[in-house]
């Protein structure tokens, strides 16, 4: 193993690690605000990537139908528990009018000729709204349930989404065009343009999230909910609002990660889960509470993965997922005292 291979593996590891870091941040965020362990994060990644692939090949993305279906379901749930005419109006707008308008728009456009930026926006516009809809339908009715129940629901939603993914995308995988084909030479090392895009996008996104949480009222409201749910309620920050906003952000991160990862590896309908789980290992390193630790853990996971794929490629997933055991052991050594589970 020479320096060149090490540099190459390191580059791979950091690139993947940056994507895991994004996923880990989303997982920590969702858990802190809603106590949901967001297993379906990976499905947003896969749906984003495969929607992009469909757009690139000029096909009408079938995820639009999922959006319409999701919207109708959300509208129905809203209808059953309506509190006022105004809220029903808003629900109609977002859950029925918006998906149908989007479907109509895409029907009219000639998808094959769109510029990349437009495709990115469309992929986001289709998949991201399903985040808050999912919260409304699956989690909001049981927002006060124990973490364990929320986790099982989360797994159930993941399973249903994988099945739906198979139904609309089929078993074939897709790879999308890289955002940049350029190659840069740095000494003896070749750096791919897409690698730089991934790193830059991750950094921009992380900084944007930081600014959102540090500077904006809504970002602060989410933090407040995570710190003290009762206190936040007394300020009129409803858990439902916080939940929908959080799931929106998680969906944005999921879809963007999908767009970034799809040019690197072939994405199948069920690829999201494994990628998401690696984000999880990182999030667990951060104890589902610390953002910087989780991001650091993600880079570690990325590097571990790329180096173990060189040494023992058949066992790379085994190695990454077994990492969780020493991490948990370390965490369990630092916690004691019997406490009640909520």
């Amino acid at each position: 193993m020479d320096a060149e291979i090490i540099a190459m593996l390191g580059q791979d590891g950091v690139t993947n690690g940056a994507i895991y870091a994004l996923l880990a941040l989303a997982l920590v965020l969702v858990f802190a605000v809603t106590r949901v362990i967001f297993i379906p994060q990976g499905e947003f990644l896969a749906w984003g990537a495969l929607t992009m692939a469909a757009l690139e090949s000029g096909h009408f993305p079938a995820t639009v139908w999922l959006l319409v279906g999701c919207g109708v379901l959300t509208l129905a749930v809203d209808g059953f528990s309506a509190t006022g005419r105004r809220s029903i109006g808003r629900s109609l707008l977002w859950n029925l009018a918006y998906p149908l308008a989007l479907a109509g728009l895409l029907w009219g456009l000639s998808l094959a000729e769109l510029p990349t930026a437009a495709r990115v926006l469309i992929a986001l516009a289709i998949v991201v709204p399903m985040g808050p809809m999912l919260y409304r339908v699956a989690f909001q009715p049981v927002a006060e349930a124990p973490v364990l129940v929320l986790l099982i629901i989360s797994v159930a939603v993941h399973l249903a989404m994988v099945g739906l993914g198979l139904l609309i995308f089929g078993p074939e995988g897709s790879r999308t065009q890289p955002f940049s084909e350029a190659q840069f030479e740095l000494g003896s090392l070749m750096i791919g343009g897409h690698t730089l895009v991934v790193l830059a996008a991750s950094v921009v996104l992380i900084v944007a999230l930081y600014l959102f949480f540090d500077r904006t009222l809504y970002g602060k409201a989410l933090r407040a909910t995570a710190i003290n749910r009762n206190g936040a309620r007394l300020m009129g920050i409803s858990p439902a609002l916080a939940g929908r906003l959080t799931f929106f952000l998680a969906a944005v991160i999921g879809v963007l990660s999908g767009l970034l990862v799809a040019p690197i590896t072939t994405i199948y309908y069920d690829s999201g889960f494994l990628i998401g789980l690696k984000g999880f290992v990182a999030a667990i390193i951060g104890g589902l509470a610390s953002y910087p630790l989780a991001a650091g853990g993600a880079i570690l996971v990325g590097l571990l993965e790329s180096f173990s794929s060189f040494w023992a490629s058949a066992f790379k997933d085994v190695i990454v997922f077994t990492l969780i055991i020493p991490v948990l052991m370390w965490r369990s050594l630092t916690s004691h005292h019997v406490e009640e589970e909520e």
Partner: protein, 250 residues
Amino acid sequence: MSNNNVLEVKNLSVAYGKVEAVSGVSLAVGEGKIVTVIGPNGAGKTTTLSAIMGLLPSRGEVAFDGSIEQVPEVERMVVRGMNLVPEKRELFGSMSIEDNLLLGAFQRHRSGKRDHLETMEEVYTLFPRLKERRLQQAGTMSGGERQMLAVGRALMARPKLLMLDEPSLGLAPLIVREIFRIIAELRRRGVSILLVEQNARAALQVADYAYVLENGGIKMHGEASTLRDDPRVIESYLGLGSKHQELLST
């Protein structure tokens, strides 16, 4: 419902499982008045406030600012101008004092009223200490400062009715005096206040009207100045019987 009442509660009952903690409580808060609910521990004071605010499911009628809430819901009550400073304060410990205050104006800001900077200045004039420490984390403050921040945070919403749950709880006498001075000051500024207190003397001193809650029901009510001298109030607190009333009334 008479026009000069901000809050009118009729026949409010709350049950935890099969146990009724509050039954058939009726009370009213007049516009610009301080009304206090006093009573021994476990009488149902906090439960009553929580139910009015919509934190707990209840039966009965809550009329606020002229319209009846069938099912009070916290977020809606906040939008309509009711704010509760809970017994536990419920601050955002790892956020700065300023952010805590800012979040107090969340609903107001959301409904398009962007006057939080002015309000914050007003809060700071009321609590200069908070201004001195505005970048400090809320969790690092002393008990008295926490209470001030909790009140200040609630004021950021410019409430029509401020409900205070045991604001003197666990505070040293000097700070208790300060808190009650501020409560009196707030009334001068036109805020109606529903005050729940164990510190009966201080509460009766500052209030216009008072209710005595015991075992989940209103046992007495009347002008605060009248109740202040009622021996039964003292009895229900200490259970001492008549022999100590003399001593207490001095």
